[in-house]
């Protein structure tokens, strides 16, 4: 299959996922939070395609509703860390000198922590909630983007086209906005898309530990955590959200790989 074709397919799947996430509450067959104890822990059937959980809630509806929390929070996280990281990186690379030095030493310290350990601690201290999980992971992840952006800026700064732009009188913000940002963004797009899968698993992991989305919010990680004691008798309460994470992460990873191949055919 050509890279072009793959790109279309995975972009289509990604858009589909995003639509499901955005319109989740319009397409769930049942109310994802409606409890019905008479119907608790039913195996998958025609009426409940993925079965029901211990409160009798429809699993399919909860998995769809969970897409909203998982996908949107991951996208928010990716956007936050790329914006913050890239802004800091560009400023450091462009300004250089003392600002650059201080910020890069700070990022060294952040990078000295094992990522997930620090995220667990930050999320634990902030207390539960999906927003806090996002903040915790953002705190840990920005230095990577700052460093990447900075190194790109340093390369661009020495490039002929930038020197030409300078010579013809472009200065300051215009130089950054028109010449530096588009080039940096170009490269970071691939990194960001490739990171979506990992970040989604990390958010779900924090929720699994009880440090992300709080019940009764339907979120894949916390659904699996609540269902794990039932895994022997009713495996679908764990398998349904688990497969949802797996498939979503896979789509984003495939998209990331394909974008990378498309941009840089040498690597494939």
């Amino acid at each position: 299959m050509s890279t072009q074709k793959k790109l279309w397919i995975f972009t289509f799947l990604t858009v589909l996922l995003l639509l499901i996430a955005i319109f989740a509450y319009f397409i769930t067959p049942y109310d994802p939070n409606a409890q019905n104890l008479a119907k608790a822990l039913q195996a998958p059937s025609g009426a409940h395609f993925l079965g029901t959980d211990s409160y009798g809630r429809d699993m399919l509806s909860r998995v769809i509703a969970g897409a909203q929390v998982s996908v949107l929070s991951t996208l928010a996280l990716v956007i936050i860390i790329s914006l913050v990281g890239v802004t800091i990186g560009i400023l450091c690379g462009y300004l250089g000198g003392r600002v650059d030095n201080v910020i890069m030493r700070v990022s060294d310290i952040f990078l000295a922590f094992p990522g997930m350990v620090f995220a667990i601690a930050v999320a634990g201290i902030l207390g539960g909630g999906i927003l806090n999980a996002v903040i915790a992971l953002a705190t840990v992840s920005w230095p990577k983007y700052a460093r990447l952006a900075r190194s790109q800026v340093l390369v661009i700064k020495e490039s002929d086209f930038l020197k030409a732009a300078r010579l013809s009188g472009t200065t300051g913000w215009k130089l950054i906005l028109r010449h530096i940002i588009p080039n940096v963004a170009n490269m970071l797009l691939v990194t960001a898309v490739l990171d979506i899968g990992t970040l989604m698993m990390e958010i779900a992991g924090l929720s699994f530990l009880g440090l992300g989305a709080m019940p009764p919010t339907a979120e894949w990680g916390s659904m699996m955590s609540k269902g794990r004691s039932l895994i022997q008798t009713s495996p679908w309460v764990v398998l349904a959200p688990g497969c949802a994470i797996f498939l979503t992460v896979m789509v984003f990873n495939l998209l990331g790989d394909t974008i990378r191949d498309y941009r840089d055919p040498r690597q494939s």
């Binding site: 952040f110 000295a112 094992p114 997930m116 902030l126 779900a204 699996m224």
Partner: protein
């Protein structure tokens, strides 16, 4: 070589100071006041006067930096405070659980290498054949599975269907099998891919082609030229992923009730036992930094190019 190690050790000092400062600031910003937290957990009403006195005795009425310096002093002497919950000193508890975590880390790293090195090499040799596609498919699947899902799948298949291993507690020798498998599956997926890329890159280099042209046997080329380079890749990867491994152990330990520092930390978070969380963060960062140092030294010893450049 010794000069290099000495230099690297000196460079560590600001990083270690930064780590402690950040960890301290993190706790300071939320708890602000250990006395509140301490008496919150103790239960019952405590008069403001008693709290003021406790604050004064603990030095909590002093400015931030002064508190940090005194905390650092205690930490360096091996005193990381007292747990809010058990009221026991934290460091001995922590150290008693550390071997369990290191044991789990070590077994999963070994298993990862045992899986990913042969599979990566095999995939590279059979490039674009069925074997290669199969291995790449599995590595892709493994890459998209969060490790807590892998643990639950393993529990489902091994403990429930076959009743082979006990899932809970770290009392007996078998109980390490499932946590190790979980961590190794997640990591192998990533490494197999990287080993494959590294081998392919090396096999396409001109010296390999030249060696082939001179009639040197494939096996000799492999063992003498390609393998050392692959080892270098592995060392880099291991040091890079030790961070996610240490975080991963926390999740896996708490699922499998493995009695290590990760589970200790998660339990501490649930009970808001701040000094314990702090000890965990500081120690994990220290371990991470030192593992990176050791891998840099390895790198230095393995790769003459880097060695000569620095000297």
């Amino acid at each position: 070589m010794y000069r290099y190690i000495g230099k690297r050790l000196l460079q560590l000092i600001p990083i270690l100071l930064g780590i402690t400062l950040l960890s301290f600031a993190l706790m300071y910003s939320v708890t602000g006041d250990a006395v509140d937290a301490f008496y919150d957990n103790a239960g019952g009403e405590v008069s403001e006067h008693v709290m003021e006195e406790a604050r004064h005795n603990l030095g909590l009425d002093k400015p931030f930096l002064q508190q940090y310096v005194s905390w650092l002093g205690h930490t360096l002497q091996g005193d990381m405070g007292v747990s809010y919950i058990t009221k026991k000193p934290i460091l001995p508890t922590f150290i008693s659980k550390l071997p369990n975590t290191l044991y789990l880390t070590l077994t999963s790293v070994l298993l990862t290498m045992a899986i990913s090195i042969p599979l990566g090499i095999l995939a590279a040799i059979k490039q674009n054949k069925f074997t290669d596609y199969l291995i790449r498919f599995f590595s892709f699947v493994g890459n998209s599975l969060p490790n807590f899902f892998v643990s639950l799948l393993l529990i489902l298949f091994f403990s429930v269907k076959f009743n082979l291993f006990s899932v809970l507690g770290s009392g007996n020798a078998e109980s390490i099998v499932l946590p190790t498998l979980t961590l190794a599956i997640s990591m192998s997926a990533k490494y197999t891919r990287q080993v494959r890329t590294a081998v392919l890159e090396e096999l396409n280099k001109e010296y390999v082609v030249a060696a082939r042209a001179r009639g040197i046997r494939e096996y000799i080329i492999f063992r003498k030229s390609v393998l050392p380079v692959v080892m270098l890749t592995i060392v880099t990867l291991l040091s890079l992923s030790i961070g996610s491994l240490l975080g991963g152990t926390a999740i896996v330990e708490s699922i499998f009730m493995w009695d290590g520092v990760g589970k200790l930390a998660i339990d501490a978070i649930m009970m808001r036992d701040y000094p314990c969380i702090q000890a965990y963060v500081v120690w994990m960062a220290f371990i991470y930094v030192f593992v990176n140092l050791i891998s840099d030294i390895f790198y230095h010893a393995l790769d003459p190019r880097i060695r000569l450049e620095e000297e």
